[in-house]
């Protein structure tokens, strides 16, 4: 039922193409695919190959239908026999996949594992899409996806070229009960802020670090950026903004808290142009942005 629905949402002609390719069941292209990594899974689905997936990892959350597939666990903690039990023709493994011994054991047992190279740039996403398209024998679909991706990105960049002010953005991540983590440079969040025409308010270190309230005030962010999940953990938008930590900052004074879904914001998958667009709209409220066309992979369920 869900599979049929997923095929239908891909849109008329493409849906028919998928069904016919399934019926032909090419022997030379993989028919059972395990995808490790949220962005890789998104690309597989965007290429119309979602029905080939027989297993995903815990970071694969979009499209929502993939969460119903057998789950092989956390990306750094895969089990060789778990992979084998899904009898995949191919495993698409993100660069983080591990441990190395589990992958080596699975390879030794005859499983083909293709390692994806990922990065926090549109070019890296394009390469990622090309790789998945080539491996799955869907080069034409990959070319179409890339064309659309480039057109959308050019639209966002053209709009951003006319933006004159760059707001200072503080990205805060809260995963548990402990201290909030603030993004420095060299993170997906940092790259997204730049892609959306903002400036990361914290560039003193790389990666994520626990942050003191005073340092937050000193960073003087114009906007506070959080994932929806973080805002939920912290008890909602109002309680975040009323916190003393942020009250003294320009962001707190103007009540500028921007939130987005974690995978959408930091996933660096086929929805990157749309995510950058949505973030840019929120970072530059005074500016008019041309709307991006909806794509099959941005509205998939």
């Amino acid at each position: 039922m869900t599979r049929i629905k997923r095929v239908m949402t891909m849109g008329g002609m493409q849906g028919i193409a998928i069904l016919s390719s399934l019926a032909l069941a090419h022997a030379d292209t993989p028919q059972r695919v395990v995808s490790v990594g949220g962005s890789t899974t998104e690309i597989v689905a965007a290429l119309g190959a979602g029905t080939l997936l027989v297993g995903v990892d815990t970071t694969s959350l979009y499209p929502a239908s993939v969460t119903e597939l057998p789950n092989i666990g956390y990306v750094r903690q895969l089990s060789a026999e778990g992979l084998l039990s899904l009898r995949p023709d191919i495993v698409l493994a993100g660069s983080e996949a591990g441990p190395a011994t589990a992958l080596a054991q699975a390879r030794a047992a005859g499983i083909e594992i293709v390692t994806m190279s990922e990065g926090y740039t549109p070019e890296a996403v394009a390469r990622h899409i090309e790789t998945v398209g080539r491996v799955l024998g869907r080069k034409a679909e990959a070319a179409d996806l890339l064309d659309a991706f480039k057109v959308d990105f050019a639209t966002v960049e053209a709009d951003l070229a006319r933006v004159t002010t760059k707001p200072r953005v503080l990205f805060i991540l809260q995963t548990g009960r402990g201290a909030s983590l603030v993004s420095g440079t060299d993170t997906a969040a940092h790259a997204m802020i730049e892609l959306a025409g903002g400036v990361n308010a914290v560039t003193e270190y790389t990666g994520y670090k626990p942050f003191s309230p005073e340092a937050a005030a000193l960073a003087a962010p114009d906007v506070i950026l959080m994932t929806d999940q973080t805002v939920d953990t912290l008890g909602g938008k109002d309680s975040v903004l009323s916190e003393a930590t942020f009250a003294a900052t320009p962001a707190g004074r103007d009540g500028r808290l921007v939130t987005m879904d974690a995978l959408y914001l930091t996933g660096f998958g086929p929805r990157l142009a749309h995510a950058a667009h949505d973030l840019a709209v929120k970072l530059h409220p005074a500016h008019e942005f041309a709307p991006l066309p909806e794509r099959a992979w941005t509205k998939a369920e």
Partner: protein
């Protein structure tokens, strides 16, 4: 108490009734272990026929993938579970005997926290180390560092607690607490400077897993664990004498200080090797000796080999649970042992308070 009565107590283990009890209990546990080992080979995410498992074991023809699963994944993992379980439970039993404290476990002598420090050092700083010393780039770097950390912490603790070649048990325990705190603080510093991936890696390492060891893990850990457990088992009579008290054991002719050194070094070697290849697996070292003592009484000539056998069997079962319950994913095995072990531990505490 006069000398002859104490000798009588120490010798009481060799009465005829006990002599019969020993082979019965150890034989039963060995049978249990063999059963668990076979079951573990036949269990996993891949549905394999028991016939295929046996055929692959005896080198008969099976399809390539089944053969690979059995000989490259399940067999080394089964052997790893056996040696790790044996090492943790054997060392736990020996330390409980040495400290005459039923709540003693290997973390008491600093070996776990030292190993954790070694592991987190490689996880966080390994990249930088390999950049300077390219030959250090090896999957064995982490086990090696964990092993050194574990043994190093125990060694430092032992040296600090000694004065004039002697170390009082109370001083040893206090030194262990201090070493644990220091290793914990250093681990904390490294966790603080770690990135998200490194932190996750360390978190999973500290919950234990037999998945990543494979044949290399078994090969490097088997020999030190076997040697350490042999040294522990031959100390059984001396540990029995220690149950009467340190001074009494000394009067019975037990070289108490040497016994302390042997048991602590052997325990650190066994646990250090186990932790190096499997991460931290809690509660086996404390729960298993208790289970064996409940069946067999305090005689170390049953408790030590019994704990070794039962620890191996228990870890095999725990690993089966870890592999199967969330397949095709896996649970960290430390979660399984702690989930089973901690309720038992609580029950033990309550029981001790009531009847102790």
């Amino acid at each position: 108490m006069d000398q002859s009565r104490m000798t009588d107590i120490a010798e009481s283990a060799s009465r005829p009734s006990r002599a019969l009890k020993r082979p019965a209990i150890l034989g039963g546990l060995a049978l249990l272990l063999a059963l668990a080992a076979l079951l573990s080979l036949a269990t996993g995410a891949m549905p394999l026929a028991v016939g295929d498992v046996l055929r692959a074991l005896f080198g008969l023809e099976v399809d390539a993938q089944s053969a690979a699963v059995i000989t490259m994944i399940r067999l080394p993992r089964m052997l790893l579970a056996i040696i790790v379980g044996a090492a943790l439970a054997g060392a736990g039993a020996a330390l409980q005997g040495l400290f005459r404290n039923p709540l003693a476990d290997p973390s008491l002598i600093g070996v776990s926290s030292g190993a954790a420090l070694g592991a987190v050092t490689v996880i966080v700083l390994g990249g930088a180390v390999v950049a300077i010393l390219p030959f250090a780039a090896s999957p064995l770097l982490l086990p090696f560092a964990a092993f050194l950390g574990g043994l190093g912490a125990t060694f430092v603790m032992q040296r600090l607690a000694q004065s004039g070649g002697q170390a009082a048990t109370a001083t040893l325990l206090l030194a262990g607490i201090a070493i644990n705190a220091m290793a914990g603080a250093a681990t904390g510093v490294l966790v603080y400077v770690s990135n998200d991936t490194q932190l996750r890696d360390f978190t999973f390492w500290s919950m234990g897993s037999l998945a990543a060891g494979g044949w290399p893990g078994f090969t490097i850990a088997a020999l030190p664990i076997a040697a350490a457990l042999a040294a522990i088992v031959v100390s059984a009579r001396a540990l029995d004498a220690m149950l009467l008290g340190e001074r009494e054991a000394l009067h019975l002719g037990v070289p108490v200080q040497r016994l302390k050194n042997v048991v602590m070094v052997a325990s650190a070697l066994a646990v250090g090797s186990a932790v190096a290849v499997s991460g931290i697996i809690g509660f086996v070292g404390i729960v298993v000796p208790h289970l064996v003592r409940m069946i067999a009484g305090p005689d170390h000539r049953i408790v030590l080999p019994g704990s070794i056998l039962a620890g191996a069997a228990l870890l095999l079962v725990a690993d089966m649970v870890a592999r199967v319950v969330v397949a095709p994913a896996e649970l960290p095995i430390g979660l399984v042992t702690s989930a089973l072990g901690s309720p038992f531990f609580l029950w033990l505490l309550v029981r001790r308070r009531r009847f102790g």
